[in-house]
């Protein structure tokens, strides 16, 4: 891949990812990840200090599916949606087919009653590679939120 192609494909991956979440096609979300993966939501402060925990910590695609199943069938929370605005990816490295990239995001949360809040900003710190079917899939996505505050709840994936 040329660097222009790579940038385009990363941007496309993020666009599809955000569209799936924002359009409430949450069942599609685990499909962006490899079967064995790491998805973690944490904060810049925790990353800086080397604290390993996340508010979400999943090390398999099945755990991501479980999170969606729980949101649909198990958990009680007030209806809301997100609007992701995703910035341009920057490729940090590309070694043996594994691309390390960092992409800034901004999420507005829209509550059931119409209240809109700036819910989160941060970067996706990713390791991505091309799967057998030719698609890029996420092996690791560390969602590093700029603020340590998570208002009331993080139900929908970030």
């Amino acid at each position: 891949m040329t660097s222009a192609e790579l940038l385009f494909r990363l941007a496309a991956l993020n666009t599809h990812y955000a569209n799936a979440i924002d359009a409430d096609r949450l069942e599609d979300w685990p499909g962006f990840f490899e079967e064995v993966c790491l998805y973690k939501i944490t904060t810049a402060e925790n990353e800086k200090r080397g604290y390993a925990a996340g508010v979400v910590y999943a090390d398999s695609r099945a755990m991501l599916s479980d999170r969606i199943a729980a949101l649909r069938q198990a958990n009680i929370y007030e209806r809301h949606s997100y609007r992701h605005i995703i910035g341009t990816p920057s490729v940090r490295s590309e070694e043996e087919g594994v691309i390390a990239a960092e992409t800034p995001f901004l999420i507005v949360r829209i509550m059931r009653d119409g209240k809109m809040d700036l819910f989160a900003t941060g970067v996706y710190r990713d390791r991505v590679s091309q799967a057998a079917d030719g698609e890029l899939r996420v092996a690791e996505r560390i969602v590093v939120c700029d603020s340590p505050r998570f208002d009331t709840l993080v139900a929908i994936p970030v």
């Binding site: 939501i41 944490t42 904060t43 402060e45 925790n46 200090r49 604290y51 390993a52 925990a53 996340g54 508010v55 979400v56 910590y57 999943a58 090390d59 398999s60 099945a62 755990m63 599916s65 479980d66 999170r67 199943a69 729980a70 069938q73 198990a74 958990n75 009680i76 929370y77 007030e78 340590p148 505050r149 998570f150 208002d151 009331t152 709840l153 993080v154 139900a155």
Partner: protein, 414 residues
């Protein structure tokens, strides 16, 4: 309780007892102001930080005692000191980071300096410049300084109190609660992460929620369906003599099945809900006593949580009548095996702002705050399991919630 009319003149009198709570107590700004003096600055031990965070001389953390900003610091003599984070001069914050390491504190506004015990040590240009200006000769450094807190620790938790009337920490907690703190915090902890969860409700609604063992298996499907805590499992609630503190316990269940939730058609029991990757619910009995859930509160604002192998400190800070911040500190131990550490990280999916259990507690206080918005003089009912607050071997009760109101009403004079 005779002077409740004086303390809350605009409301219906609050009849004595623990089974009814008027909604004005969550709404009234006069109540909020009275709580600062009578609860947080009163005869209670407020959680400040972990001793582990103050390992070296000059290590400090900032936190809150009610509205009051506080600095906790390791002094030169090895003791832990705590004092109000307010310069004696004009009232500015002395420290405005979450923590750090310093040899002394100085206020950025006019460079007044404090030692690690919070004593005012110098005033910039105290004698003026070229014989002009300066402080009066009579100004005495010793007579000025931020208010100091007495500190004490148990299990590596640092507490502070502003009142001379507060009994020693272990007496305040009582032997049963002390034992249950030490059960969890029995060796050197390590911080795994910190998160803050703002909630749209009065702090007392969260204080009640964590003491409310009645709701746990009714609201939280994960607790019920995955048999983390069901009423049919062995367990109980320990309450300190004054009602202030509690610890609930649930024991791991043997392979027996019950139908009590099915019989009442309770939503939270749903055998059809299964996890594709159940590794998140694969605990080990690390404390060797079969207790898989222990939720412990220290009045007024601390929770110590053991949910399987997920350990956390939760400290709540009031932010006005209808908002609070919940500060989560996820813990492990320094000698965790990699396998145990991984369990803690995965089981933490149950708790915190995105927790399969705790996300629901994040919302529920706001539902009460909004639901009761126009009901200041109406009463909520806290009558499951009787009218008293005492240690019991069932969790189908609101006894620990009544314990909260027992100490609260006594301290507030309401």
């Amino acid at each position: 309780m005779s002077n409740s009319a004086e303390n809350a003149p605009r409301h219906e009198a609050w009849e004595p007892g623990l089974t009814r709570v008027p909604f004005w107590v969550y709404q009234d700004d006069a109540v909020r102001r009275a709580e600062q003096e009578k609860i947080f600055q009163g005869p209670v031990w407020n959680y400040l930080c972990l001793e582990h965070e103050l390992a070296n001389t000059g290590d400090y953390r900032t936190s809150f005692v009610g509205d009051m900003p506080v600095i906790s610091v390791r002094a030169e003599d090895g003791s832990i000191r705590a004092f109000e984070n307010r310069c004696a001069h004009r009232g500015a914050l002395i420290a405005f980071e979450d923590g750090g390491n310093v040899s002394e504190f100085h206020c950025v506004y006019h460079a007044w300096r404090y030692d690690l015990a919070g004593n005012l040590k110098s005033v910039a240009f105290r004698r003026g410049v070229n014989g002009k200006g300066g402080m009066a000769e009579s100004f005495c450094l010793e007579e000025h300084g931020p208010r100091k807190l007495r500190t004490a620790t148990i299990g590596g938790l640092v507490f502070g109190t502003l009142s001379n009337e507060t009994p020693e920490l272990e007496e305040y907690l009582g032997p049963a609660i002390c034992a249950k703190i030490r059960r969890v915090l029995h060796k050197k902890p390590e911080i795994l992460g910190r998160f803050t969860q703002p909630m749209p409700n009065n702090w007392k609604l969260y204080a009640e929620n964590v003491k409310d063992t009645y709701h746990a298996s009714l609201l939280h499907l994960f607790f019920t369906t995955f048999r983390i805590t069901r009423f049919s499992q062995a367990g109980g609630i320990t309450i300190s003599d004054d009602g202030a503190h509690h610890a609930s316990a649930t024991y791991a269940q043997l392979e027996t099945r019950d139908t009590i939730y099915k019989d009442e058609a309770i939503r939270s029991d749903n055998d059809a809900f299964r996890l594709a990757d159940p590794s998140m619910l694969d605990p080990v009995d690390e404390f060797g006593d079969g207790i898989q859930l222990q939720i412990l509160t220290v009045f007024p604002t601390l929770v110590l949580q053991q949910t399987h192998n997920s350990l956390a400190i939760r400290n709540f800070v009031p932010r006005g009548t209808d908002a609070m911040d919940l500060h989560w500190t996820y813990l492990g131990f320094a000698d965790d095996t990699p396998e145990l550490r991984k369990r803690r990280l995965k089981q933490a999916n149950l708790v915190g702002p995105a927790g399969f259990v705790s996300m629901e507690d994040g919302c529920i206080g706001g539902f009460v705050q909004r639901g009761a918005m126009a009901a200041a003089d109406e009463l909520s009912v806290v009558e499951m399991g009787g009218a008293e607050a005492r240690t019991t071997d069932t969790r189908a009760t609101e006894t620990a919630v009544r314990g909260f109101w027992q100490i609260y009403r006594r301290l507030m004079g309401l």
